[in-house]
């Protein structure tokens, strides 16, 4: 079946398009409108008046928990949550069980996704064997197995020499290196931002310097190896400053920001609610300001969720003992639209879409994130002004560990189309 999406504001940053236009989909691909004018078959019409027609959104930082942790999330449920959030492509992290450090595990994830996921699921492999930070994972075999990046996310390779060799090796096979930036010595057993609230509550502090030290290490290694390192979930003001300086010198380094790090600050932990416990932790107001500045000036070019599902029984424990992380796929677009476009006016809509489409697609070197004719018809329809309330109990995810239940937000995806098929509709 062929489809035409009519009268939407079509924003396609890769092609520098921002205009009210119709979009044609023929046989699951973006087509020229002329192909629709001579229809061989039935045409589905979608009215997109007052909506944004965006390339399908990409979230390059998601934990789908399979294989191994199906009680938290499955590839199927995570993909549904992604579709409900407006995402047509998600990149899943390798801290599963078994750890995704072998081609066989990657093959399992890809097979499972092909069988059951309603959006594209792209796996990553680990940097080190078993996430142990001691020996290189078989990065070449992982590349042949189809990973889009390597990362030890959730952990961080502490040995600078091993990290250097991983980056050199990844360059050979053309894979970007993603890094969860955390210096274990500086962070210790920290669970919340080291500052006023950690001091007041006696909770172990996680200092900003613990992130900044590794961001700086990554700048040095990206330069040394002339290869791309992408710093995951940046939370601290100093990290933004380091990235800005390095990128100005042309270093192949980038960063991403999650919505909770701009929507919330560390005062949210004062009731010991573990739905506010994530890694890196919620930081101070000046960090939020620095992240917004970094987003505004382009230092930060990618937005993502770090969707990290955990079961209620796992989170409902002592603050120290609770696992880090929150779900985010269904709230991230709404939060960023609300906070970046509407409230703070940090960026405009085309820029936000760029950060969710062409920018991650370029980093991942995948054919996604544009509405160019011939490309797979992955399209997200967004109502940027729709006011809605997030109800965690109605979430598509298996898990409910969110600090945003009941939040009123402005703007969200209303339809998600993957390969020409509507996979989710409000």
């Amino acid at each position: 079946m062929n489809t035409v999406i009519r009268n939407g504001r079509l924003i396609d940053p890769a092609n520098k398009r921002d205009e009210v236009a119709d979009l044609a989909i023929v046989d699951g691909r973006i087509a020229d409108l002329s192909e629709i004018r001579n229809p061989k078959s039935e045409i589905e019409e979608i009215d997109a008046s007052n909506l944004i027609v965006s390339p399908g959104l990409i979230d390059l930082h998601v934990h789908l928990r399979e294989p191994g942790f199906g009680w938290k999330e499955t590839i199927e449920s995570g993909a549904r949550a992604a579709a409900a959030g407006g995402f047509t492509t998600i990149v899943c992290m390798p801290n599963t069980s078994p750890v995704a450090d072998s081609p066989s595990t990657i093959a399992w994830i890809k097979d499972r996704a092909a069988e059951i996921a309603c959006v594209h699921v792209l796996p990553t492999g680990t940097i080190s064997k078993g996430l142990m930070g001691e020996e290189l994972a078989p990065i070449g075999s992982l590349a042949q197995g189809g990973v889009v990046a390597i990362t030890d996310d959730g952990r961080c390779v502490q040995n600078n020499e091993l990290m250097r060799r991983a980056v050199e090796y990844a360059r050979m096979v053309g894979l970007p290196v993603f890094d969860h930036c955390q210096d274990y010595n500086l962070v210790g057993n920290g669970v919340v931002h080291e500052g006023y609230w950690s001091t007041l509550l006696g909770l172990p502090g996680w200092p900003s310097a613990g992130e900044e030290a590794i961001v700086l290490r990554n700048v040095l290694l990206a330069e040394l190896c002339d290869h791309h390192i992408h710093c995951q979930h940046i939370s601290a003001a100093g990290s933004v400053r380091i990235l800005r300086e390095a990128r100005a010198r042309g270093v192949k380094i980038s960063g991403e920001v999650c919505p909770h790090h701009i929507a919330l600050t560390d005062d949210a932990i004062q009731n010991f609610d573990t739905n506010f416990k994530m890694n890196p932790p919620l930081r101070a107001q000046e960090d939020v300001a620095a992240l917004l500045e970094g987003i505004a000036d382009g230092t930060i070019g990618i937005l993502c969720s770090d969707h990290a599902p955990h079961a209620q029984f796992e989170k409902e424990v002592e603050f120290d003992a609770a696992p880090f992380g929150i779900v985010g796929l269904e709230t991230e677009l709404g939060l960023f639209l609300d906070l970046l476009v509407h409230k703070n006016q940090t960026i405009d809509l085309p820029r936000l879409i760029e950060m969710y489409t062409v920018n991650p697609a370029r980093l991942l070197q995948i054919e996604a994130g544009t509405l160019s004719p011939g490309r797979a018809a992955d399209v997200t329809l967004i109502d940027p002004d729709l006011e809605w309330t997030f109800d965690a109990s109605a979430s598509q995810s298996i898990s409910r560990n969110t600090p945003f239940n009941g939040w009123k937000l402005k703007g969200r995806a209303v339809r998600t189309i993957v390969g020409g098929q509507t996979v989710w509709k409000m």
Binding site: T199, L200, G202, F272, V317, F319, D320
Partner: protein, 316 residues
Amino acid sequence: MTELVKSQMRWQRKDLLGIRELSAEEIIFILDTADAFKEVGTRDIKKVPALRGKTLVNFFVEPSTRTRTSFEIAAIRLSADVINISANSSSLTKGETLKDTAKILEANHADIIVLRHSSSGAPQFLAERLTSSIINAGDGAHEHPTQALLDLYTIRSRKSAVAGLHVVIIGDILFSRVARSNIFGLLKLGARVTLVGPSTLVPREFEKLGVAVSYDLDRVLPTADVVNLLRIQHERQRKEYFPGIGEYIRLFGLTKERAKLLKPDCLIMHPGPINRGVEIDSELADGAQSVILDQVTNGLAIRMAVLYLCGGISGQ
């Protein structure tokens, strides 16, 4: 018992989680209530029927002898039935969750649960989920409210008022729940507080709580009305915080020489257990200015007052 209590205030809390959430009026109300119970301790028959028929569980997920014993004696004097349970948090992590264990205590009709736990916030976690009274007997580096109350009680009984006094707390402040609860309580009652210790264990961030921070003990001691010494440990997890006990004593130990800087009526306090010869000279710990054993005795009265007040609310 109510006729023993002076104030007209009506106690509203089923739980005692920390000092930070209490008003000055509530703190004074507890101290006044403790006055009444202090008198009970001087009688031949040191027992009153206030909590007869109530069950108190001393639930200690971190080892403690002093605090547990004090709560146990206090509960027995109030005629409560007392059960002691110890666990270590690692077995809790592996097996039953804290929530499940506590729910089982509640299902066994525990009216009052006295919780000691290594995680900050654990008592609040239980209080939000149980109808039993939760009394915080120390949570992580967060609060140890009954210790602060007995310290305030001891100061008040020796100095008549807390307001206007200069209280110096010395030692490992960063990891100390005693320090935090004392800071909150002393400031609420109008005292001036100075923290002294190695910069690694007394970060400047504490100034934002409204206290002074100093690294020069000799300059602070002459104006002190009370010095409260915290136990200093140089174990595995503290090795990176200061070089060793010898240097600690040189810089921050209350030696006989240094004690000469104190005003003659300055009180010397210590929550125990004491490292004799480390944070305090052994003779000073037993000397005329020391109120360390008073603190222990006052602890009984304070804990009786807290159990009586909160236990009277539980299950209502």
